[in-house]
Symmetry: C2
Subunit: 449 residues, 2 copies
């Protein structure tokens, strides 16, 4: 039966074209699959979800500003009508290097001529006690829906049992003062101020606290000092309580303990403190950095595997000074375009070229009319201008005209009405971010064919 | 602690106003809570979800035509700024008739002066073997998301393992030829034809079958004969296989068995064969019909309980000839308006009036440009005109300008692009439609106060 499928598969794919297998439909994998549109290769894109998630806006789904479907796009929809493309929804659990095949959870194998690993990153809890068990992470759409539902549930419970507020029902702790953490914290206070204040007229809203905990002495540590100051000031002015220079010691079901000894009662800890390469990387037997990223040559190929590339958060690619590239979307997108060019060169018998990441800037939004932007050439923006730039940039990058239109309408609605429409509680079970099924024993179906 | 809350609760609600407790935020409960806006009563609306669901469009969420958030509206959002209103998210597990209090799952009690039961209906499996275990029902938003995800998963599996199609992967069986069943069947073939044909170019789409199974010899049995014929013809023309006059004998995980002995291999059975009053009704010790509906007087009050009303699908209200009213939204909405008037009359010491349901017509859509409508005065419509009337009517009835706008955009998008945007697989766990927690022992907190 597997035989039958393999025959059919091989038959449907144009013969003799080298097959490029891409693991992961994030920014890197998707960009690469699109870039290879007209190339004489067969592209097989594998992802455990049937959709691409626009991760930079996940925090808006978690805070009811956007609906889940608006920041996701079905992979098959993106590639409709593409001849040299095939999508496989499945979880990659390993690679058979000898047979040059990717192994799937259910025992299936997919042969490759070129392999591009673009499986991204998961949450890094740095081994802190209780963090993985009792924190919410924000890497998938289901994470975001689960977090949204959880927060609303706390308010519903507080509305019926105000005496339980002192147990920390309305304390939301965001761990991590990077862009993700401050965007989350800013969106939370806005949600509470603009919507929950009206939704729960009987609740003492001054007891709904958003606390940002950061090990360093500042937020946005990689940004210019002036932008850091602006961000700290804006966060404080909007009601975010900053706990700087005090790392998390441990997390329990009803509190966060800081290294200073402070105990913050809460049922909602959002972990935005760091990322780590996805656990698949640990299974491949390839050299890794401390954060699990796979070591690559200057051309993004894996040493000793001339037909294997790694891009995005999973790749330990470095700049001229040997510093690791940041784990953010533009690196993945540029890496994908680079790999498309290198595959073309290899097919034509040419040598590969080194990857040069061009940093164009970074941005983070704090809330209505407040954002920071650090652009190429030293240009720094704060305030409404940076905020509108942030909105425009994210809107342009969203995939699909329809998603863009919907997000625009939703943002406009939220902006003018001070409302949030997506505040529904769903009973959803996210797959843990670091879940990886057991290694399936390789079945020798290839030899049967 | 509960004491503290109760004091606060009582204090916040205007003193001495009689409290109307409404169980269920469906069409009936919501309409009633809105109708009592300016009345000298305190309204407490209880629902297990924090949102109202526009059930008539659930099948469009299940077939990826609409996004879940578009047909739902947060209850608190609807009543923002209402002084005499309070929402309680919780599951009602019983009523303490002696103490005149509603009992919640977690042991809380809510006293009432007037009680309106509007908890609606659940799926009726008529005791058919395996039906409850192995069928999908379509009563909640989570049901719809789970069904959508399940169907897409079958296609993903079939794409990787075409040899399994013969196990029924691509057979979708809809049980029931009423409006719900034919709308579902029609939407399914459209989804497959317009979207999956392009999404899965390697799949033999002629093997994706939609089968409608109905015990009677026709679909839409309560409609005019001419409309029935039109519906059967349209369904067949669009590719729905009609199995009429052949009731379901039993359902297994991989097949449906009909009474004729026919076995239809399938993993997807959608149960649209009937409804039954929600299981709360069975706990109240009140006289019920065979379908579990609570017997009511002509004024919708429960015999022997002059301060308790029942409306909507839960009420065994009858017309002049003693026939039960149909279980559909207009009956619930008109019943709610009637009850609002009766509560006003009772408050003013007047006698109650009997409820008269005014039937304005029924409609059902089969798919693009095809619907049937049976209007007051014998007017019957089929085809594009009925279809546009159906669209317009449902759009108008949707709650909230923003939901309407979004649904309009989505429908327009689907209509002109022949696309479906919401085809994402979520890992969601719906609460079974007939789930009701164990009876919580009444805590005597009231006496402590």
């Amino acid at each position: 039966m597997v035989l039958l499928w393999r025959e059919k598969f091989v038959q449907l794919m144009a013969q003799d074209r080298p097959r490029v297998v891409i693991v992961g439909a994030g920014f890197g994998g998707l960009t690469l699959a699109r870039a290879l549109r007209r190339d004489p290769v067969e592209v097989v894109l594998i992802d455990r979800q049937n959709y691409h998630t626009f991760q930079p806006l996940l925090y808006q789904v978690a805070t009811a500003g956007l609906e889940p479907e608006e920041i996701a796009h079905a992979v098959r929809g993106i590639f409709q009508g593409r001849r040299n493309f095939r999508f496989v929804m499945g979880t990659v659990v390993g690679v058979d290097w000898d047979a040059q095949a990717v192994l799937l959870e259910d025992g299936d194998r997919i042969d490759f001529d070129y392999l591009v690993l673009a499986a991204g990153a998961t949450t890094n809890y740095f081994g802190i006690e209780g963090a993985a068990e009792y924190s919410f992470s924000l890497k998938t759409l289901e994470d975001a829906i689960a977090l949204r539902s959880h927060i609303i549930r706390q308010f519903e419970e507080a509305d019926r049992h105000p005496e339980r507020i002192r147990e920390g029902l309305l304390n939301i702790v965001v761990v991590g003062g990077g862009p993700t953490g401050i965007e989350m914290a800013g969106a939370l206070v806005e949600w509470f101020e603009l919507v929950f204040r009206k939704d729960y007229p009987h609740l003492p809203m001054n007891r709904a606290r958003v606390l940002l905990v950061e090990a360093l002495d500042t937020v946005l540590a990689t940004y210019d000092e002036r932008l850091q100051q602006y961000a700290r000031r804006q966060l404080r002015r909007r009601g975010v309580e900053l706990h700087l220079g005090d790392p998390v010691a441990r997390v329990t079901p009803d509190a966060v303990y800081l290294q200073s000894g402070e105990r913050i009662p809460t049922r909602t800890v959002i972990w935005a403190a760091g990322v780590r390469a996805c656990p698949l990387a640990d299974r491949l037997g390839l050299p890794q950095t401390r954060g699990g990223r796979i070591e690559v040559e200057a051309d993004l190929r894996v040493p000793g595997h001339p037909n294997v590339f790694v891009i995005g958060d999973l790749a330990a690619s470095r700049d001229e000074n040997g510093r690791l590239h940041p784990q953010m979307a533009p690196v993945a997108i540029q890496g994908a375009r680079h790999v498309a060019r290198q595959i073309r060169r290899l097919l034509q018998g040419q040598e590969t070229e080194p990857f040069h990441y061009r940093h164009r800037g970074t941005m983070a939004t704090i809330g209505r009319h407040a954002a920071v932007a650090e652009l190429k050439g030293g240009l720094r923006l704060t305030g409404p201008l940076a905020w509108f730039a942030w909105l425009a940039l994210h809107l342009v990058q969203l995939i699909g005209f329809r998603n863009r239109l919907q997000v625009l309408i939703n943002w406009a609605w939220n902006y003018f009405t001070y409302d949030r429409s997506a505040r529904l509680i769903f009973h959803i079970q996210p797959v843990p971010a670091d879940y990886l099924p057991a290694y399936a024993p390789p079945q020798q179906t290839t030899t049967e064919a």
